[in-house]
Amino acid sequence: MAISVGLNSAIRALLVQQQAMDAVAHNVANVNTPGYSRQRVHMASVAPANGGVGQGVEMLNLERVRDLFVDFQIRTESHAAGDYGARADSLSLVELAFGEPSDNGLRAVLGQFFNAWRDLANAPGQSAARSAVVQAGETLAFAANRLASSLGDIRSDANTRLSSSVGEVNDLAKRIAALNGRIVEMRAMGDPAADLTDQRDLALDRLAQLTDMRVMTHEDGHVDVFIGGRALVSNITANVVNLEVNPGNQNFFDLEWASDGAAVQFAAGEIGGLLHQRDVDIPARLADLDTLITQVIDDVNAVHSAGFALDGVTTGTAFFTGTDAATIGVNAAVAGNLGLVAAATDGGASGDGSGALAVADLQAATNLTGGSETYDAFFNGMITRLGVSVRDAQGISGAQGATIRHLEQLRASTSGVNLDEEMVNLVQYQKGYEAAARVIRAIDEMVQQVLQMAG
C-alpha cells in the first residue's frame, strides 16, 4: 500500500477536525444571538478505493439543529398571544378611562346629579339650590363627554398601532421573500444556508405574533406565507398589505391586498386583536354608554318638561340638550336663567319641590334593559363586564405567554448553544487534530528511516 494513503487520511482528518472546530467557534460566537440555531458537523469514514483499509474521514454535512414541530407550535400559540395581548392593552386603557371605583367617575356624578335635585326639593325657592342642580348637570355632561372622547381616542390609538403593525408585516414579508431567493440559490449549490434560515425563522416568528399566518415549506428551501387563505409571500414575491382610509369608518384604515384591493382577512394575531378592539369591542362599550346617557337625557327631559318653572307659568323646558354621551349638555336657556329649572308641579309656587323630587325619583326607576334595570344597575353591569373582559384578556394573554416561554425553552434545548458542550467538543476535536498531526509525524519518521537505510 502506498504511503500517500496514510498521509492523505491524516491530512483529511486535520481539515475535517478544523472544520468541526470552526463550527464550534461559530456556535460560541453566536451564543447570545437571538434565533440562532447551533450547527453541527457530521463526519463519516471514507470507504477504501480498492478494498482494504479506508481512506480516513470526510465531512458529510453541516447540520442546523432545529425542531420544526416546535416552530409550528410556537407560531400557532403566538397568534392567540398577539390577539389577546392587543385586546388586553386596549381594554386596560378603557378601564383607566372609566376610572372606577372612584368618587369622581360617571357613577359618582350621576348620583350627585340626582342628589342635587333632592337638595333642590328641600329648598325650591333658593337660587343656590337651582344653581347646584345646573352645576351637577354640567358635571354629569362633562364626565359623559370626556368618557365618549376617551373611548374614541382609544379607538384611534388602536388604528395608529394597526398602521405601524401593518408596516412591520410588509417589511417582514419583503424580508422573507428576499431570504427565500438567497436560500434557494445557496441550497442549489449544496450550502445549507443555515444562518439565512435562522434569520427567516426569526422573521416568521415575529409575523406569527402580528398575524394568524400559515407557513408552507417547499423542498427547494423556500416558504410561502398565507393570511386568510391568500399569499402574503409567494416564493420571492411579497404581496404587501395597503392601508386605505375609509371615510365610512371615521377615516380609520381598511386593510387591503396591494395586488387587487380585496380586504385582508385578519382573524387573530396582534392585528386581529387591534381590529377587534377598534371595530367591535370599543364601539360596543361606547354604544352601552350611549344607551345609558340617552335614557338619562330622555327621562330627565320628559319629567322636567312636565314641571313648572319658578314663575309658575313656564313649562315644557328641556333640561338637557344632545342625544348621546358625546353631545349631552345642559340646555343653555336653563343654565342662563335658573328660574327655568322646573322644581314645581302645581303652578310653580316657590315652596313646591315636587317637580324636583320627580326628577330625583328617576334614579330608582327601572327604565333600562327592557324595564329591568336602573341607571346605576346598568352602569355597574357595564363596569362588571369591562372588568371581566380585562381580566380574561390579561389571563389568556398571560397563559399564552407562559406556553410560549415553555415552548421556547424546548426550542432552546434543541437549538440553543451550550458552552460546556461546545468546550467538550472543542477538546475532542483538538485531540483529533493533535492525533492526526502525530500520525503525520510517525509517517514522516518512518519515511526518514527508509531514506537513511537507502543512504
Binding site: V31, N32, P34, R38, S92, E95, L96, F98, E100, P101, D103, R107, A108, G111, N115, R118, D119, A121, N122, G125, Q126, A344, D346, A349, S350, G351, D352, G353, S354, L357, Q363, A364, D376, F379, N380, G381, I383, T384, R385, L386, G387, V388, V390, R391, Q394, R405, Q409, A412, S413, T414, S415, G416, V417, N418, L419, D420, E421, M423, V424, V427
Partner: protein
C-alpha cells in the same frame, strides 16, 4: 434522556423567573401601600359592581341624612311657633276669665280689649313666621300667608297661602310634611280673638262668654297641632337612627369589598419577598458555573 440546557435558554428562563417574582412582589406592595384590594374593575369585577352600588347608596344615605337634619330644624321652627301661639292663647283664656268677673267696669274691659288687639298682632306675626325665606304656615306659597282686612282695626284675616304640603323625602318613597296647614289652624283663633275683643269693647258679657269657649276650643286645636308635630319629630328621629345604621353598614361593606386584609397581605408580602430573594440567589449561582472555569 436529560434535557439539553442552552446558555441563552438559561438566561431567558432566569430572567423570566425574576420578572415574574418582581411583578408578584409589586402587586402585593401596591395593595399594602394603597390599602386597597380593588384598584380597577379587573382586580375583582363582581366585588367592584357591589362596591359601586354600595357607594351610590352611601351617597343617597348622606343626602337623606342631610334632608332629615333639615326637616328636624324645620319642624323645630313650627314647634316653637306653636308653643308661642299656645302661650298667647293661654293668656287670652286668663283674660277671658278676668273679664267675666262681675266687678269689672267698662273702662277696665276697654283696657283688656287693647291687650287683646295687641295679641291679634302677635298671632298675625306668628302666622307669618318664615324659615329660610319660606313662610311655615303658607303651604307652597312664598308671600306672607295672612293679611288683615283693615290694618288699623282688623275684623278678619285673609289667607293667601295654599293647601300644599311641604314634603321632605327621608326614605325610598317615604315623605314627611314639615308644615302645618295655616288656614284651619289660624282662622278659628283669629275669629275667637276678634269676637272677644269686640265683646269687650261692646261690654257684652254674653258675647265675651261665647268667645271664651271658642278660645278654649282653639287651645285644643293648637295642642293637637303640637302633638302632630311631636309625632313627626319622633318619626324623623327613627329615620335618622335608621340612616345612621345604614351608613355604618354600607361603609363596612365598602371597606370589606375594596380594602385589603392588611395582616394577610403583609404575610403574603413577606412570602413573595422571600421568593424574589430566592430567585435572585438561584440566578447568581447558576450563571456563575461554567466548564470554562475548569479548563486551564
Amino acid at each position: 434522556m436529560s434535557m439539553r440546557i442552552s446558555a441563552r435558554g438559561t438566561t431567558d428562563r432566569m430572567l423570566s423567573h425574576i420578572t415574574e417574582a418582581t411583578s408578584r412582589l409589586n402587586e402585593t406592595q401596591e395593595r399594602v401601600a394603597s390599602g386597597r384590594r380593588i384598584n380597577r374593575p379587573s382586580d375583582d369585577p363582581f366585588a367592584t359592581a357591589r362596591a359601586l352600588a354600595a357607594r351610590t347608596k352611601l351617597d343617597l344615605v348622606t343626602q337623606r341624612t342631610r334632608t332629615v337634619d333639615l326637616a328636624s330644624t324645620e319642624l323645630g321652627v313650627v314647634e316653637s311657633a306653636l308653643t308661642a301661639l299656645g302661650t298667647v292663647m293661654t293668656r287670652a283664656q286668663e283674660l277671658s276669665v278676668q273679664a267675666d268677673s262681675a266687678g269689672l267696669d267698662s273702662g277696665a274691659r276697654q283696657q283688656i280689649a287693647t291687650e287683646v288687639a295687641e295679641m291679634l298682632n302677635e298671632v298675625l306675626s306668628i302666622a307669618n313666621t318664615t324659615h329660610g325665606g319660606r313662610p311655615i304656615f303658607g303651604g307652597h306659597q312664598g308671600g306672607a300667608p295672612f293679611a288683615p282686612d283693615l290694618p288699623a282695626n282688623p275684623t278678619a284675616f285673609i289667607y293667601n297661602g295654599d293647601t300644599g304640603d311641604v314634603l321632605r323625602e327621608i326614605g325610598e318613597g317615604e315623605r314627611i310634611a314639615v308644615n302645618i296647614q295655616g288656614e284651619p289652624l289660624f282662622d278659628g283663633i283669629f275669629a275667637a280673638l276678634v269676637s272677644f275683643r269686640d265683646g269687650l269693647i261692646a261690654n257684652n258679657r254674653t258675647a265675651m262668654n261665647a268667645a271664651s269657649s271658642q278660645i278654649s276650643n282653639e287651645i285644643d286645636t293648637v295642642l293637637t297641632a303640637r302633638g302632630e308635630v311631636g309625632a313627626r319629630m319622633r318619626r324623623l328621629d327613627m329615620a335618622w337612627a335608621r340612616l345612621e345604621e345604614e351608613e355604618l353598614a354600607l361603609r363596612t361593606s365598602i371597606s370589606g369589598l375594596e380594602e385589603v386584609d392588611i395582616t394577610a397581605e403583609v404575610v403574603e408580602l413577606q412570602m413573595r419577598d422571600t421568593a424574589f430573594q430566592a430567585a435572585l440567589a438561584a440566578t447568581s449561582r447558576s450563571l456563575g458555573v461554567s466548564l470554562l472555569d475548569f479548563l486551564r
